[in-house]
């Protein structure tokens, strides 16, 4: 595979179901070895896009190539490069974990001892060895998830498409999954993970793709997302003091450029009309000079979820305002480069 070309290129992809535009002009590309999160609400078009990328559905129009091969023209070549984990993990009745993996290994063309070795590697990696003789359809969600990931990894694919891999997992299973994905990323695999749980993706991914109503509405890393929707020139600061919080509130009401956002148990969240570090440091210095017993003073990161919801709100507002030029965060027209 030519590694100078992007691993994944999606150009102006459309897919309609009847009158419903499930995917409506999606473009992006992903370089080799990147881990990209694919974020959107229910019904945003994530699964539809991913299924087309995995050659399982036909695009209405537009072009998708994976590892340099067009998904429509050369599905067989694309399928060799691709590991796919669907949102519904299909397991079989009357089949043990070992037999399940054995079947897919056979189907992928592994023979004899080679097959055995590969199955063993995958079972070790996903920690399935103790479960080898379990019935594959009678396992917990986390175990099933690992089995499906194992199956997707059998042929050591270069590109992984994981549709909601973390859905329904408990915190421990999520951490395990995250670790597995981190290892795969270190091996240089290109990974696209969809989810609607943003905070998690933020940690795992190099960058994020936000999709809403079949369109890409934002692309970039998690920080840029948060900053992009931050109200310009304002910073939220969380302050805790020893003793009565009322003292802090009183102080804040008289201080210039500071508004109280919210009282907390041991202090307050303050909105400061400045974004630069010097001013923020200055505020802290003033607090101490005025005799406030500050225990904790930190800049509050906006949560990714809030940022995303804010952004969707902005888009809706803007579309509602009958498309005033130059205002929309319309990054859709030019292809997102990740």
């Amino acid at each position: 595979m030519d590694r100078s070309q992007p691993a994944v290129v999606v150009e102006d992809l459309h897919r309609t179901f009847g009158n419903l535009k499930a995917v409506n002009g999606v473009s992006f590309s992903i370089d080799h070895g990147r881990v990209v999160g694919f974020v959107g609400a229910n019904g945003a078009g994530k699964t539809t896009t991913m299924r087309i990328m995995a050659t399982l559905d036909s695009p209405g129009s537009g072009k998708v190539s994976m590892g340099g091969h067009n998904v429509v023209h050369h599905p067989a070549k694309v399928r060799r490069l691709l590991g796919w984990m669907p949102d519904s993990f299909g397991t079989y009745e009357h089949m043990t974990v070992l037999e399940y993996l054995d079947f897919y290994a056979r189907a992928l063309g592994f023979k004899g001892a080679d097959r055995l070795r590969r199955i063993q590697e995958v079972m070790d990696f996903t920690d399935l060895t103790p479960l080898a003789d379990r019935m594959s359809n009678k396992m917990s969600k986390g175990q099933t998830q690992r089995l499906c990931l194992g199956r997707a990894l059998l042929h050591d694919p270069q590109i992984l498409i994981l549709d909601e891999p973390a859905a329904g997992l408990d915190p421990k299973a999520r951490v395990e999954l995250k670790n597995l994905i981190r290892i795969l990323a270190q091996e240089g695999k290109t990974i696209l993970i969809s989810s609607h749980i943003l905070s998690e993706l933020g940690e795992m991914c190099d960058s994020l793709l936000f999709i809403d109503k079949g369109r890409i509405v934002h692309h970039g890393d998690a920080e840029s997302m948060v900053r992009g929707t931050e109200t310009a020139g304002e910073t939220l600061v969380n302050v805790q003091i020893a003793g009565e919080p009322a003292k802090l509130i009183e102080w804040a009401l008289t201080a210039p450029l500071i508004k109280v956002e919210e009282e907390t148990k041991r202090g307050a969240r303050l909105r400061i009309q400045a974004a630069d570090d010097a001013t923020l440091a200055g505020v802290l210095r003033r607090m101490i000079q005025d005799g406030l017993p500050v225990l904790d003073y930190h800049r509050e990161e906006r949560r990714l979820e809030d940022a995303f919801i804010d952004m969707l709100g902005q888009i809706d507002k803007n579309t509602f305002k009958a498309q005033q030029p130059g205002e929309l965060p319309q990054k859709n027209a030019e292809a997102a480069k990740l």
Binding site: L56, V72, R79, P86, G90, A107, I119, A132
Partner: protein
């Protein structure tokens, strides 16, 4: 690890699908249950067969049980074979392996066929025992058992093909209707083959199995092999990716099968019988060719353009989609009716052409009522086919009633191509020629209508063909059709 023996039990040479299906199948209670019940009953029967006076009764029961198990119960195991994988999403994951659509379907069928073979072999000792107890024709009994197995695996192919349809009710109707009418699953094959020709070519099929002789045995084997190929490839088309060129293989093999049937008839001097069989097969082939969606994948067309003018010629007959299917079916109809005209009579050739027009009619109706949403044309085709057949059955029996106004009722049969055959047989000798000519004329409406629809559909795929042409020839020179 102790895993090795657990998964090395099946050879690498076996198809992975077969291994999977066998592992799953042998683990279910059903197979074991069937095996156990079967053997219990057979042991009882064998013990009872001591006396000569009840030998016929026992033999009847024996046949019945073997037929039930081999021709009905085992094939029905394929009832949800593909539908279940479709619903649980596992078919997607199979598609992403190196297994082709054809191998997936074949595996499903082969698993049933091999379990069925296992059952048949386990019945063999009872045949021998009965031979030892009371003298029966050992070879004949074994042959009969083998034919039951063969019929069973052909039926299994039909049922596996049906299982590519998600709708449970559709599958149920199609499987159980023939069983209701015909009493036995084998009838489903004959029902299907009645479609176009309207003659009882099923009769020809059964007469093969009865008559002895090495030649006819080979013929039966050949026909069974072809039928299995036909239904499995029909199924594979339903689950193959859009870029697949299955239609090329399918249509070529089917054409060759049809031609060999005719050639065989000519060589063995049984052209008349073969002509009728060919007519029966014809309707199945038409159904396959006329229910494919028009393909809009450029690389499919590029594969044809790559091969120069022979490729461009082949494109018209073999490219996936019902438009080329229309051309292909026209070729087949011309071939078969010419053959029948030569081997039997011109009238019968004309009747075959009219019968084919009936199949085209169904295809035209499907085009009228199909929406872009429903991707597979096979279910509407089968539904229309069922409706038309019910109509024909009721109207056709009307024609047989002596007091019906023969002259008028017979003439109105021209409206429905399939009815003409019944009308023709009941018409007075003097009227027959005129009736047939009028029937031919009115029957032309349907291929005509279909042709118009085909022109539009063909133009819709034009962009794809041009893109395919560009993939091969670049921007310079010539253009796609």
């Amino acid at each position: 690890m102790n895993a090795a023996p657990a998964i090395m039990d099946f050879s690498d040479r076996l198809s992975p699908m077969v291994v999977k299906e066998l592992r799953q199948g042998l683990r279910t209670r059903l197979f074991g249950g069937v095996l156990l019940t079967l053997h219990l009953m057979l042991v009882l029967l064998t013990l009872m067969s001591g006396g000569a006076e009840n030998a016929a009764v026992v033999s009847g029961w024996f046949d019945g049980i073997a037929t039930l198990v081999l021709c009905i119960i085992m094939p029905l195991r394929g009832f949800s074979a593909v539908a279940d994988e479709l619903k649980s999403g596992t078919l997607d994951m199979l598609a992403l392996t190196r297994l082709s659509a054809g191998r997936i379907i074949f595996g499903k069928w082969a698993a049933i066929a091999s379990q069925s073979l296992l059952l048949m072999l386990s019945i063999m000792p009872y045949v021998v025992a009965r031979f030892v107890f009371g003298g029966l024709d050992l070879f004949g009994e074994i042959a009969a058992l083998f034919y039951k197995w063969l019929a069973g695996v052909v039926i299994a192919a039909v049922i596996v093909a049906l299982s590519t349809q998600r709708q449970f009710w559709l599958r149920a109707v199609i499987v159980f209707l023939p069983m209701l009418f015909g009493g036995c699953g084998a009838a489903s094959f004959m029902m299907m083959s009645r479609m176009g020709g309207g003659m009882s070519s099923g009769l020809v099929f059964t007469s093969f199995t009865k008559s002895g002789g090495g030649g006819s045995v080979l013929l039966v084997l050949g026909m069974a092999a072809w039928a299995i190929f036909f239904f499995l490839s029909l199924a594979a088309t339903r689950i193959a990716p859009a870029a697949s060129l299955l239609s090329v293989i399918k249509r070529s093999v089917n054409l060759v099968a049809l031609l060999s049937l005719m050639l065989l008839g000519w060589l063995t001097g049984s052209s008349a019988a073969m002509g009728m069989t060919a007519a029966g097969v014809l309707s199945l082939l038409m159904m396959d060719a006329l229910t494919e969606r028009v393909n809009e994948v450029p690389s499919v067309y590029a594969a044809f353009y790559q091969r120069g003018w022979p490729g461009r010629l082949a494109l018209w007959l073999l490219a996936p989609g019902w438009v080329t299917g229309l051309a292909y079916s026209a070729l087949l109809v011309a071939l078969v009716s010419a053959y029948v005209g030569w081997a039997r009579s011109v009238e019968e050739a004309k009747l075959i052409a009219v019968g084919a027009a009936g199949t085209w009619m169904i295809a035209a109706l499907v085009q009228l009522f199909s929406t872009r949403k429903s991707r597979d044309l096979l279910p509407p085709f089968i539904i229309f086919w069922l409706i038309v057949n019910v109509m024909i059955a009721t109207l056709g029996s009307l024609l047989m009633i002596p007091w019906a106004m023969k002259t008028t009722t017979v003439w109105f049969t021209c409206a429905l191509p399939q009815l003409l055959q019944a009308g023709y047989t009941t018409a007075q000798a003097g009227d027959k020629a005129a009736l047939l000519n009028l029937g031919m004329l009115t029957a032309c409406i349907w291929p005509g209508a279909l042709l118009i629809a085909a022109v539009f559909a063909w133009r819709r795929a034009r962009a794809a063909r041009q893109e395919g042409w560009r993939m091969i020839h670049g921007d310079q020179g010539g253009s796609a059709v």
